[in-house]
């Protein structure tokens, strides 16, 4: 079965379908509903036998590269432009098909936002390359 990453972003991606303020500015009951939904998604994936992993990332980021021989690593300092892409976390799922991955991503995107309305958040769906060679000969 193929594995997919459903990536959530702090920023980046297509223009938001429905712009919303940061969650700490939502009504407390909307925050509760949102968090309860995310918990429900993890439980649902586990019950379905589709759950592999889910992780959240902090927004802090540093870009690092090799500095060359005898030089310290080069890192970016200071915040990056507000337009740059920033991953917030992911679900890794193990599903029957690409269609199922898309279906689950759309379900995650229906998570409740302010006023209980769906967030319509863009979810980045990426297939994970399998590590082991296929058991059959390539055609």
């Amino acid at each position: 079965m193929p594995k997919y990453l459903l990536l959530k972003h702090y920023r980046g991606g297509p223009a938001p379908h429905r712009p919303v303020p940061p969650m700490d500015q939502w009504a407390p009951e909307d925050v509760e509903a949102h968090m309860a939904f995310l918990k429900h998604v993890s439980e649902l994936l586990e019950e379905n036998g589709e759950y592999v992993d889910a992780q959240a990332l902090t927004p802090a980021r540093a870009w690092v590269r090799y500095g060359g021989p005898d030089a310290a690593p080069v890192t970016t300092d200071g915040p990056l432009p507000e337009t740059s892409d920033l991953v917030a976390g992911w679900y890794m799922i193990d599903v029957e098909s690409h269609e199922r991955a898309v279906e689950l991503a759309a379900y995650v995107s229906s998570e409740p936002g302010p006023g209980g309305e769906p967030l319509y958040e863009w979810i980045d769906v990426r297939e994970v390359m399998s590590g082991a060679p296929s058991a059959t000969d390539p055609a």
């Binding site: 700490d24 009504a27 927004p59």
Partner: protein, 407 residues
């Protein structure tokens, strides 16, 4: 079929023997690395054989089987090198006390040359008797990774003299690391740390060892109230104090009193005293903040430059200052820490708490939101976002309509 409680009890009894048998082997001159491997094999053998054939003397059985494994290992080693078979000593009946064995092994595992992660892993395996799989599960890393970490740590100990008294301060720090590493996961690390600290207090008269045990007990007692049924964090001031474990509090207070009676105070004793004062309050409103502040004064006085050397103590003291002298005074105390921990979530969370205490809810909401952005733990992040939303909703400046802007 062996029922679950019996199996757990048997495993507990088996694990309690680990440090005694291992210490016996190492004292006899066996290499720590090889002895630990041999004992792990003996333990697996015990789990297989004992249910059918329980030994008369479990400890002697383990020592004999582990010794046999060591001899086997040495024989194959000798064969590989084409040398004569090495001589070995029969296990001597151990003359030492259990406490000595524990302390001796803790000094081995908490050798100052090892990294903290290695010290923790080795302590849990060689003294706690946990399997590599259990330790890996507790720290959410693959079993192979933890196995590698343990074998590297053991290799690092090769050739080190293990007969010298070690550094008790390091041992205490490692046990506290194990305690704070988590209450969740498949293995109860907090419970394990308490068990090890209790063993340590049997081995040393050092009051800080008892201070550490007291601190763990007094903190652990509040664990049942710390999360609600949905897994949400409940702060101390909102906890249902009826859920606190009064038996653990009682033991913690007794252990702390016996430590304080020695009159050689240290940070664990002082922190335990603060925890005891929280545990002693029937409601949040009855907390004896002036006395807590007095203990924090003692705590920050333990280091020359507390702002740099112990910012956590200064931050804790700022909360106490806020409750005794007012929110503005508490906030002024946190200002001193801005350059040191101003980017840490806890600094912002404490300022949120102090702003809320002073009735400035918009400032509290902003500080909680800042804290949430810096949190490194999902439960804490969610809690801080909730605190921010709650403070904003209750604040006088809420304009009733959310501004629409991109997240």
């Amino acid at each position: 079929m062996i029922d679950e409680p019996t199996r757990r009890r048997d495993e507990g009894a088996l694990r309690a023997l680990v440090p005694r048998v291992l210490a016996g082997l190492v004292r006899r001159g066996e290499d720590f690395d090889a002895a630990e491997d041999a004992l792990q094999e003996a333990l697996l053998e015990a789990l297989r054989v004992w249910p059918e054939h329980p030994p008369r003397d479990p400890r002697a059985w383990l020592a004999t089987v582990a010794t046999r494994r060591l001899v086997d290992a040495r024989r194959s080693e000798a064969a590989r090198h084409g040398r004569e078979e090495a001589t070995y000593a029969e296990p001597r009946p151990a003359a030492t006390e259990e406490g000595d064995d524990t302390l001796f092994l803790l000094f081995c595992c908490c050798h100052p040359d090892l990294t903290p992660a290695s010290q923790v892993a080795l302590t849990l395996r060689a003294v706690g008797g946990l399997t590599t799989r259990e330790i890996a599960g507790a720290f959410y890393v693959p079993e192979a990774t933890m196995a590698q970490r343990i074998s590297r740590a053991k290799r690092a100990l090769q050739g080190r003299r293990l007969d010298q008294p070690g550094d008790l301060a390091v041992v205490l720090r490692v046990l506290y690391l194990v305690y704070t590493a988590g209450h969740a996961g498949r293995v109860d690390l907090a419970g394990e740390a308490i068990r090890l600290a209790r063993q340590l207090t049997l081995a040393t008269e050092e009051p800080e060892a008892r201070g550490l045990l007291a601190l763990m007990l007094l903190n652990h007692a509040r664990l049942p109230a710390r999360l609600d049924p949905e897994g949400r964090i409940v702060t101390l001031d909102r906890q249902d104090r009826g859920l606190w474990d009064t038996r653990e509090i009682g033991e913690g207070v007794r252990v702390l009193q016996s430590a304080l009676a020695v009159q050689r105070p240290g940070r664990y004793q002082v922190e335990a005293a603060i925890a005891a004062l929280h545990d002693d309050a029937a409601s949040a409103g009855e907390t004896d903040w002036p006395q807590i502040l007095a203990w924090y004064d003692d705590l920050v006085a333990l280091t020359d430059d507390p702002v740099r050397q112990d910012p956590a103590a200064v931050l804790g003291r700022a909360v106490a200052v806020g409750h005794v002298l007012g929110a503005a005074a508490g906030l002024r105390e946190t200002d001193r820490l801005r350059d040191v921990i101003g980017e840490r979530h806890r600094w912002h969370a404490v300022r949120g708490h102090l702003h809320e205490l002073g009735g400035d809810l918009p400032a509290a909401a902003t500080a909680y939101a800042e804290a949430g952005r810096r949190a490194t733990n999902v439960a804490e992040r969610d809690h801080l976002v909730r605190q921010a939303a709650r403070a904003r909703a209750a604040g006088p400046c809420r304009n009733g309509r959310l501004t629409e802007r991109p997240p």
